[in-house]
Amino acid sequence: MKRRTPVSRLLSPVSRATDLLLEIGTEELPAAYLPGLIEQLGREAATLLQAHHLPYERAESAGTPRRLVLIVRGLSATQRKPAEEVRGPSKQAAYDKDGKPTAALLGFLRAQGGSLAHTKVVSSERGDYVYLVKEPRATPASAVLPELLPQLIGRLRAPKTMRWDASGVRFARPIRWLLALYGTSALRCSLGTLQSASATRVGGPLRPRAVRVRSLEGYLRTLKQAGVALDQAQRRAWIEQAVGRIAGQARGAAAPEMVSHGLLDEVTHLVERPTPLAGRFDRTYLSLPREVLLASMAKYQRVFAVEAGGTLLPQFIAILEGPPRRPAEVRKVMERILNARLADSLLFWIEDHQRLPLQRMAEALSGVTFHERLGSMAEKTVRLRALAEPLAEAWQLTEEERAHLRRACQLAKADLVSTMVKEFPTLQGVIGKHYARDSEEPAPVAEAIEEQYLPAGNQRPRTLLGGALALLDKYDTLSSYFGLGIMPTGDQDPFGLRRAAQGIVEIAWTVHRPLPLGALFRTRTSMEPFRSVQPRAAATAGNQVQRYLLDRLDTFEWPTPAPAPDTIDAVLAGPCDDLVDVMDRIVTLQGLHNHPALRKAAKVIERTRNILRGAALRQPQVDPARLAEAPERQLWELYRAHEPRLAGLAQDKAYAEATTLFGEVFFEPLHRFFDQVMVNVPDEALQQNRLALMQAIQALYTDRIADLSKLTLLHHEEPAA
């Protein structure tokens, strides 16, 4: 409230750098928003301070559900604006013959409030001009910051924002106080109806109290004494340790899924004074599947499960907001609530089992919409079954595997009608697996049903049929929406199609069996929505699906060395029907990156391509009878001698050997050919035959592997031979 900046200090042009503290006090921010808000606060502060010429040593941001905090260390006391140069009259007009300033120059200086001593002459294309160099006024940071900090807050974005009073200010949740301190002086900022004060608030919602803050160190001490763990990374580490320690006392450990599924991160952002509390639940509920227990604990109470030797114990660990006066009371209530929740889950479990076998649930899928223009989930499973055929063919599945895959397609979505999935939507697939097992479906069918929604996080399908189903489901979704003309644009992707496409690429790579995009799409077009559109429109959609999948290769997490963009471009200019084969070629060519054979092969492609580019080739095949000169006859013989072997190597996916062979065989002879033979001769028959020869040699490689003329190494200097 009080402004304590001494006037002398405001006026002093060179005062020392000082620390800045900004605390945005809020009602409880959503845990999911916090990481983003904290990150933005630091980033936007850096941008703004830089834009306003306020250098600093270090800027950090941190936060809890009740506060977002910016700390800038060593912030310059004054703005460091660059000198401003104002153009005046031309040199000719500014000085008379004797070199004395003219009225024009003096008038300019008067208008600008400058003196002759601060002028200089600058020469440019437009002539010589007089410039006035104006040293900027050194505005103190303490005068700029009160304007800047509200702007900074205004730049913070959240997925959903709200208004809470008449000021019209929007934020993720109401902002209730602002603390802005520059050194030991409070800055007076206003945001909507709110004025900054020199106090923070601690004690949580139950025992709130305002504490006056006089310095950054005092602020950090106040928070520490109040038990507030401001730094989110430290808070996370502390919670993880506390949970581990308590679980260890029961000779157990925290269930690893609680970390991998994000509960630890969520809990970190739910509290500012983490306080652990251990409790138990009724052993009876251990009969529920592990996933259900974990989901219930995470969803309803945000508590950690404990396991020993991979089996859950009837225990949990909660992280409370500050120490309650009677922890035993809290424990009792939490245990009671968890037991009631688990009782409910058990009831759902039993109810669902009365509706098994899973086949019966699958029959109810005609009432579940996939998309209103794409029909029901029942129709989706029919499509999955159809799409399974070309995939099974390409993967050369055994009869048994094919039968299992068909069955998995049929039952894939059945669990969507179960009460359990209605209660825990994230368990789709998992519940299906359990119910498939309990319906005595073969194990591979149950596993495939579980894995169909992968990849998720760092989990990938582990079984072959799980990979197949996950891939088919995503392919069906992707092609369905593309068929309706719905495609992701920019950051608009309401149906998660980008993720589906990425998933297809990841699974294809993991499984590493051919993925015949053309065959899949041909099967897909025999069904809706393609059946009711023009064949040409369907073909366009097919190309778009294929293109979209291939475009995902740019962001794919490749094994190292990650392929360069030009390697990917080169391979994509070759055959693209089999996605996995495309990926193999990319990896192989990248592996050859510094190999002289690759350069030789690329040179062959480049030179043949260049000569073909300038001419119109009309002759489809080489006519050996017309080969007049020795070098061209030699090339043709080499072609005939090596064509079967090259084709064979490409067939066997021995792309490195094929590339080496191609380069070694053709590089020298082609060089000789160009030295000794003219291609573009007046005799058109001769010219066409030579072009056909070039085309044949080039296609030998590009039709099978890649168009190496796209490689940037061709533009680099040739290494010493």
Partner: protein
């Protein structure tokens, strides 16, 4: 009184607290509804510029939540205590916490949290941001800053506080089972409601006549439109309430397929939107008059 706070004591304590805060204590609405938000005091109260402070108990029906009286926490009919404050006061959170202490809750013994809840009622065309208030991980209140009602952007912003009365009473009394709560002199909550929970669960899940309710939904919807055309606001809104409850019943009977659901909701929302518009249209001159006084 402390230590022996019955359910009815708690209601009276909340009435007294919010009366002190300037609220009109209105009475429950006499038509079935899913939540106190549907009460005209909130739905219409949140619209328009005039300040409103209202509090009331509203019996709320959630047919799908019935558990035949076997679950100590879930019921198909329970009581909400609803507070609407427009505009929302700056210290509304601490006033709310004060009200919990006023009903006899020893807050310091417990773990209290405000956990994100992006509240939305698709049927009312209403949404807001706020929290579920957790006491030892049990949701005891929904706390929302309304942003839209009936598809209309709100200004000023209202704050809606919806207490789960049974759950709060369970904390106050230290009871583990809702049916064992002391309701009033020599009377438990179970004495009053357990038989009905059993019977109504059976009705909601097994016996409600699907054809009848489908017919009912269509008739009420039609009637709402007719009444809106005749500019009869509250009668039209009451038909909306009936549509909404009928839809919930059909849902509990398993008679609403996944694909029907959005269509039902859209139909109800259409009525809600028209009700909100008619209300604002009618309020416009009146609030201008009143606005001069405040």
């Amino acid at each position: 009184m402390p230590g022996s706070r019955t359910f009815q004591h708690i209601v009276r304590a909340l009435d007294a607290f919010w009366e002190q805060e300037g609220c009109v204590i209105v009475q429950p609405y006499d038509i079935e509804m899913g939540a106190g938000t549907f009460h005209p005091a909130t739905f219409f109260g949140a619209l328009g510029p005039a300040p409103v402070r209202a509090a009331y108990v509203q019996p709320s029906r959630r047919p799908t939540d019935g558990r035949y009286g076997k679950n100590p926490l879930r019921m198909q009919r329970y009581y909400q205590y609803q507070v609407l404050l427009k505009p929302s006061p700056e210290d509304v959170q601490s006033r709310y916490l004060k009200s919990l202490r006023a009903v006899g809750l020893a807050l310091d013994d417990h773990d209290l949290r405000f956990v994100q809840d992006d509240w939305e009622s698709p049927t009312l065309g209403a949404w807001g941001l706020g929290w579920e208030v957790w006491l030892d991980s049990l949701e005891v209140t929904q706390f929302t800053y309304f942003q839209q009602v009936g598809g209309v952007d709100l200004d000023p912003i209202s704050c809606e506080i919806t207490y789960g009365l049974e759950r709060i009473a369970m904390f106050v009394q230290g009871a583990a089972d809702v049916y064992k709560l002391a309701y009033g002199p020599r009377t438990t909550y179970g004495d009053l409601h357990l038989a009905n929970e059993r019977e109504s669960s059976a009705y909601n899940f097994e016996h409600a006549d699907v054809a009848l309710h489908q017919q009912l939904f269509a008739s009420c919807e039609q009637d709402a439109t007719r009444l809106l055309n005749a500019k009869l606001l509250l009668p039209a809104y009451e038909q909306l309430l009936k549509c909404s409850h009928t839809f919930n019943l059909l849902d509990a009977r398993g008679a609403v397929s996944q694909s029907d659901r959005p269509r039902f909701i859209l139909r109800i929302r259409g009525i809600a939107k028209r009700c909100a518009e008619l209300y604002l249209e009618r309020q416009a001159p009146e609030t201008r008059d009143r606005g001069q006084g405040t």
